[in-house]
Amino acid sequence: MKKILRFSLYLFLNDYIRDFSGSFWIFFFPLILYLILTSIFGGIAEGENVTFRIGVVYEEKSTAFEKMVSHLKGEKVFDIREYRKVDEALKQLKESKLDVVIFVDKNLDSSFTKAILLAKTKMKLTVPIDIYYVPERTESSMAKDVVKSILKTIEVEIWRSFGNFKNVKVESSVEEKTKKFNMAHYYFPAIVMMTIMSIGFFSIPYSIAEKRERKSTRRLLVSPFGSGEFILSVILNNFLALLISLTLLFSMGMLLYRVPKVILSSQFILQIILGMLIYSMIGLMIVSLVKRTSTISIISNSLFQAMMFLGNFYFNVLNMSWGIRWFVYINPATYILDKLRGTMGYNSYLSNHLLVPFAWLVLSILIVTLNFKRVMEVE
């Protein structure tokens, strides 16, 4: 055991302390990515960051127009710009300088007055308002939906001004467990999983493959240090790296973003250990199936990106077409992450969190055992 610990420490110094690249990807990159993600998405759930650029085209200013613009200006998510000519505004929309354009008819005041007067009778007259948007641009479609729903509140406001209006009282609350949806908290388990996967897909296989290419593993085999002890040392070394990385990440999360203490619970930690075990074995499985480091790099990179983006890390992928959704369901990261988020209080998407991860664990152990000679390049 002492031998293994000493060798693990040697490997740790070699892989993570002497090699800046190793320490960068495992210790610092997760922190940088976490910082970037929370800076960008920190206020999105509350709509704090979003600013939609709205172009309002009027041919003639009118009271109704002024009221409509002031209604829109009341929403801090809008940056209102006024135009006199529709072509000018549409040109800006096409060049992505605006998100939507609202076109108001020059007879808006009279149309509105007539419509309101007739509304009290059995007759009906409507006032058309055109919203131009670019459907291929996400922000334009979203801005259109928001503007549309706000414009529809105008008629409710008009009715309210008539008096005798029955107001609907909405009492809205967010489930106790996730009182305030916080993106920094929501992304925390994703960054934890990404770090675990980096170790499984890159650190472990590269560490073994490089030694194999330098023929160090063959030398080890003729020494009293056995191959099993070597593999165990590689895993222990990477567990130590993960421990340091997660300590940094947990400290950042708890001190900077006030991530709840539940991340220190045994349930959360156990999921991390399970994730580490599974991805360590997947890493070993890759080394056992592929010989060259360059090919390992190709496979690891492909799997890493696929499992990360199709694992519900940053956006919900469970609504996709079955052509690709099957991968989400066979991806162990989807389940481990869902469970980690569930532990933090978020509602889980999936019910059985153990079946797929354990299937991967068993499969990878089986393949590594059968191909063990190839891991160490035993002649």
Binding site: A119, P128, M183, N316, N319
Partner: protein, 351 residues
Amino acid sequence: MSDFVSLAKCMFKESIRNKGTMFFTLIFPMIFLIIFGSVFSGGSVGDVQIDVGVVCSENIRESLKTLKGPWNLIFYESESDMDENKKDLDALVWISGESVRILKKPRDMSNMGYLSSFEMSLKILLEKKLNGVKDIVVVRERKIHAGGMDIKPVDYLLAGVIAISILSSGMFGVITLFSHYRELGVLRRFKVSPVRKISFVLGLSFSKFILSLLAAFIMIGVSIFIFHGKYSMNLFLFIVTIISSTLGMMALGIILSLSFRSPTAANNVASIILTIMLFFSGVYFPITFLPPKLRILSFFMPARYVADAVRYTLGLQSMSILSFWLINTVFLITGSILLWVASEISLKPES
């Protein structure tokens, strides 16, 4: 001329024989293309469905069914019925006369946004029903396609992915090549050979242009084949964009290679630059969604301009021709100057 041709040929052959280079230039961007194309092919993330449990009177039910949105309204007879199934619901709603109680159970970011939108729509609908509000404002949606073609959101996104791949292959390709040449001592051999610096730079650039073009055309082919993408390409302007942006990013790659002696350090810094560009260039996430202070950062991201130029040349976005040439000229001039400086430094005779 002949040394340029020979060098370009050698460097191109060297690149296509290198499995890693080929993977990261041609296949890796394709993985992103397929992942993001599949994820965002519905305009948003797939076909969103928000399960909302509702307990309300019979006459309200019919009105609620007119609510437009991704809501899957599930009606329950009693609170206890809904409680039994609350685990699978995104929100629980109780409507009784003029009062409404909503309990939101957010699962993710988009989910939360949809639930807020649901709350607003529900309030308007109920107030209109209770007060007999007639429709006065009719909002007419007018679709405008920036490039003049009827395209899908995924086409717009894929053009951005192509831009990112051009940038990353230009930057990483050069870093890998320079570190590789330095490790093998090829640069030293060049120094003692009669090869002109200009031929070396041109040969290197030309081989990269060919690879970038190849990667871009393969990606366009894949997006047409898999996602039925519609492009109206201006081939000349497209090639100009690829050449200028590859040149610009190659120069950035060379600066990093020269600034950091260790290839891994150069690669790491390049990765940070690329990660920042991915998030702040408006390719994957609209710039409108960035916090105001960070929005300024997007103006300094080459990816933002390259993405705009690529979309323009593929007929997906409108842009003034002056802006197009300005972007390309800036990339061409800065790229050429930096490449010349880099060749002067890297092929300078050792004392």
